[in-house]
């Protein structure tokens, strides 16, 4: 796929392969981002895969395909997961397992006939007291490499009421694009995955 796709959020268009970190405040702001982003994907016929932090949110998102009036097939179009089966599967977070999860999901979508994927993850799990959560920023950096080679856009959601300013700073420094207050902030000077890994392994 060439050209931009609609993010479904605040009339922002994204290039395929984009990995955007979005900052929001509170559940209602999160729901606005989720429904806009996934709604646009469902309408466009994209495969939508999301990881949300609570079963309650997952239940509500299950109703989303019925509310979209677009031409998409919808059946099997939206996969909803919880952190326990994704980020924290096996009781700990590992970057490689999670990247594998995303990669396999995208390959599976391609096999199912989808030509484009939308991934979204609610990152609140990273605040839990679980092994490996300290690798969050490294994971975000490494994810850039995966997304750049697939017809996909990725949205990582950070609640500003829960994450500190330090996390915000570090996420911005390692991401090419950050969505904040309806503005897509480009960072051409972000620390790329290779550089990050060099730094991390130094």
């Amino acid at each position: 796929m060439t050209g931009t796709v609609s993010s479904g959020i605040d009339e922002i268009d994204l290039q395929p392969g984009s990995h955007v970190c979005a900052f929001y405040r509170g559940d209602s702001d999160r729901d606005r981002l989720l429904t806009g982003y996934l709604g646009a994907g469902l309408t466009a016929g994209d495969k939508c895969i999301c990881v949300v932090d609570s079963a309650y949110t997952a239940k509500r998102l299950e109703l989303l395909p019925r509310t979209c009036g677009g031409p998409g097939p919808f059946d099997g179009q939206l996969d909803i997961h919880l952190p326990e089966s994704t980020y924290l599967a096996g009781g700990e977070f590992t970057t490689s397992d999670m990247l594998t999860f995303w990669t396999e999901s995208m390959v599976k979508a391609e096999i199912e006939g989808f030509t484009f994927c939308r991934l979204v993850g609610e990152m609140t799990w990273a605040l839990r007291d679980a092994p490996g959560v300290e690798h969050l920023v490294g994971y975000e950096s490494e994810l850039n490499r995966v997304t750049s080679s697939y017809p996909v856009i990725v949205l990582c959601l950070y609640d500003l009421d829960l994450f500190s300013g330090e996390v915000v700073v570090n996420i911005v420094k390692t991401h090419p694009q950050v969505l904040v207050q309806g503005i897509l902030v480009e960072n051409p000077y972000y620390v790329g995955p290779d550089e990050f890994l060099r730094s991390a392994h130094a």
Partner: protein, 576 residues
């Protein structure tokens, strides 16, 4: 969890691998530029926030991601201190003084245990808000200090915006309260106008007291009662009308009325809210809202007060009509007693819905109750006439009350009822002869007056005297020329009359009562209110002065005729 959550250590712990100088410079530049991007995002978040604590928290928590320095806290111009980190480090007591001495500028401050500490001004468009105090183990580089300066500047702007927003919110809230109060006032005014309009419509439509009760019920949703001054129900609207309608005791009612007169506002009396409607002291109505749940609000009270005003107008109107009718009746009675033609008298009577074509007579009533007001006697006579089921036209006449009536009743019973109504005292009644035509009523009045005077002076034991039953008195009064009668009286009583005039004695009266009581000493003495020996002395005096033997039948007859003639003459002279 709060923003104190620390970042995963990946980026914060980044170190630089051994590289060539060009690569190192390039990496350093990229890192600085990345920090500026991050700072831009932090600034965006702070500027969008309207929560001052949130802004200060975000600035302080972002510092570790931007460099090796930290934000120790914020000192504001009002002297307050807000910590940036919470590591238990005590704030130096002299820090506030240090900040004051810096004025609007930035400068070094002393913080124990910290290699370097600076205070950067938090500026807003309206002036200095305070200082951001940052510290580091070592002296930061120029780029790092620039970042601190920028974040201080952005924090100041964001805090200023937040405070402005808070003020606007407070103003908006105040405005909302004012608007709500205004809306309530408008609503109340509207309801007040509705009340005014509804009740004014009732007042001008002539719907009377039932209309007033109905309107007030519709306006308040509560049952409404209108009562007269005695507690009798005049009108009711709404559910639950008591049957029979309860009536409180006279004393309790009077107490309530006094309370209503004193307070001049709605008064709660058990389950009812009541208000007096009294256009003048002698006209009283009571308006009551039945409100057992005590849910009446201000608007209901306004409706009650306005209803009482309309009721006052209605009562005044009704009393005005009654007064006018009463005045017309009195004028008619006055003309009938003074003498008028039959045709006009009957026409005026018909206008008052009174049938004057039947034979009528005049009754004159003299009364002295505890209250001497003629109106009281007039009212007492009216009520007594109602009680004996007699209709009539009433008027005060020469201090007495004259009644023109077609009825014939037990006049003594009427007299007793009047005395009872007056609460004791005296009452005399004189009844004139019947007249076929209204123009004859002055004659009946004269007869009634004569009967009244005669029974007072000559007819003891009878306080109601009918002229047609006066016998010899009526014959004597009917004689046109009384000269011979007068001569006859002088012939038999002349010596006694002269003695009485000379000595201011009562020998003629004594003789009169002695003869009228058939020579009974005890009854005569009682009538004259003298001792029996005094009576005997007076009778002996009479015998001596007249030289007559009282027991002689012929003498007795002539003396009785003479005393009755004397009484008749006296009564006729009084009339003239």
């Amino acid at each position: 969890m709060t923003a104190e959550q620390t970042a995963p250590s990946g980026v914060a712990a980044m170190t630089t691998m051994p590289t060539r100088p060009d690569e190192a410079a390039d990496a350093n530049l990229r890192e600085r530029l990345g920090e500026f991007r991050a700072l831009l995002v932090i600034s965006l978040l702070m500027t969008e926030s309207v929560d001052e604590d949130q802004i200060l928290e975000l600035a302080a928590s972002s510092a570790p991601g931007l460099g090796p320095w930290r934000i120790d806290g914020y000192g504001f111009t009002d002297g307050s201190w807000r910590p940036g980190i919470d590591d238990g480090t005590p704030i130096p007591s002299d820090l506030a003084g240090q900040l004051v001495s810096l004025g609007n500028g930035a400068g070094i401050v002393e913080l124990p245990g910290r290699g370097w500490a600076w205070a950067f001004p938090l500026r807003s468009v309206s002036g200095l808000l305070g200082h951001l105090v940052a510290s580091c183990e070592r002296e930061p580089s120029a780029e790092e200090r620039f970042l601190i300066q920028v974040i201080a500047q952005q924090t100041g702007v964001a805090v200023s915006n937040a405070r402005l927003h808070a003020r606007e919110r407070a103003t908006a809230a105040e405005l909302a309260v004012t608007n709500a109060a205004l809306a309530e006032t408008v609503t109340n005014l509207q309801r007040s106008m509705d009340i005014h309009e509804r009740l004014t419509r009732v007042a001008v439509s002539g719907e009377g007291q039932p209309g007033i009760a109905k309107a007030l019920h519709e306006l308040t949703g509560m049952p409404v009662a209108i009562e007269d001054r005695y507690g009798n129900l005049s009108a009711w609207a709404g559910r639950g009308k008591p049957d029979p309608y309860p009536k409180e005791s006279f004393a309790k009612r009077e107490h309530l009325l006094r309370r209503l007169m004193r307070d001049s506002k709605p008064v709660r009396d058990g389950e009812r809210l009541i208000l007096l409607a009294s256009p003048r002291p002698d006209v009283i109505g009571v308006l009551a809202l039945v409100d057992p749940q005590r849910r009446a609000d201000n608007a209901d009270l306004v409706a009650l007060e306005h209803g009482a005003t309309v009721l006052s107008m209605e009562l005044a109107r009704l009393r005005g009509i009654a007064d006018t009718e009463l005045r017309l009746r009195r004028d008619l009675v006055h003309d009938l007693l003074a003498g008028t033609d039959d045709e006009s008298a009957q026409a005026r009577a018909e206008a008052l819905d009174y049938d004057l074509r039947r034979p009528h007579r005049v009754v004159v009533i003299e009364g002295k109750g505890r209250s001497r007001a003629h109106d009281d006697l007039l009212s007492a006579v009216r009520r007594a006439m109602r009680q004996v089921r007699q209709a009539g036209l009433f008027e005060t006449w020469s201090g007495n009350v004259a009644v023109v009536t077609a009825g014939q009743t037990d006049w003594e019973k009427l007299r007793r009822l009047i005395v009872s109504d007056l609460g004791g005292g005296q009452c005399h009644i004189g009844v004139g002869g019947s007249c076929a035509r209204p123009s004859e009523l002055p004659r009946s009045l004269r007869e009634a007056g004569l009967a009244l005077r005669l029974q007072k002076t000559l007819l003891p034991g009878s306080n109601a005297c009918e002229y047609p039953k006066l016998g010899i008195f009526r014959m004597l009064a009917a004689i046109p020329d009384l000269t011979d009668v007068d001569k006859f009286v002088r012939e038999w009583l002349g010596s006694l009359l002269d003695y009485d005039a000379r000595r201011k004695a009562e020998l003629v009266r004594t003789l009169t009562q002695y003869l009228e009581h058939g020579g009974n000493y005890e009854a005569t003495a009682a009538e004259l209110s003298v001792h029996k020996s005094t009576l005997k002395y007076r009778l002996q005096r009479i015998r001596d002065l007249t030289g007559l033997e009282l027991n002689n039948p012929d003498v007795h007859f002539n003396l009785q005729l003479a005393t009755r003639a004397w009484g008749t003459l006296q009564a006729l002279r009084d009339e003239r």
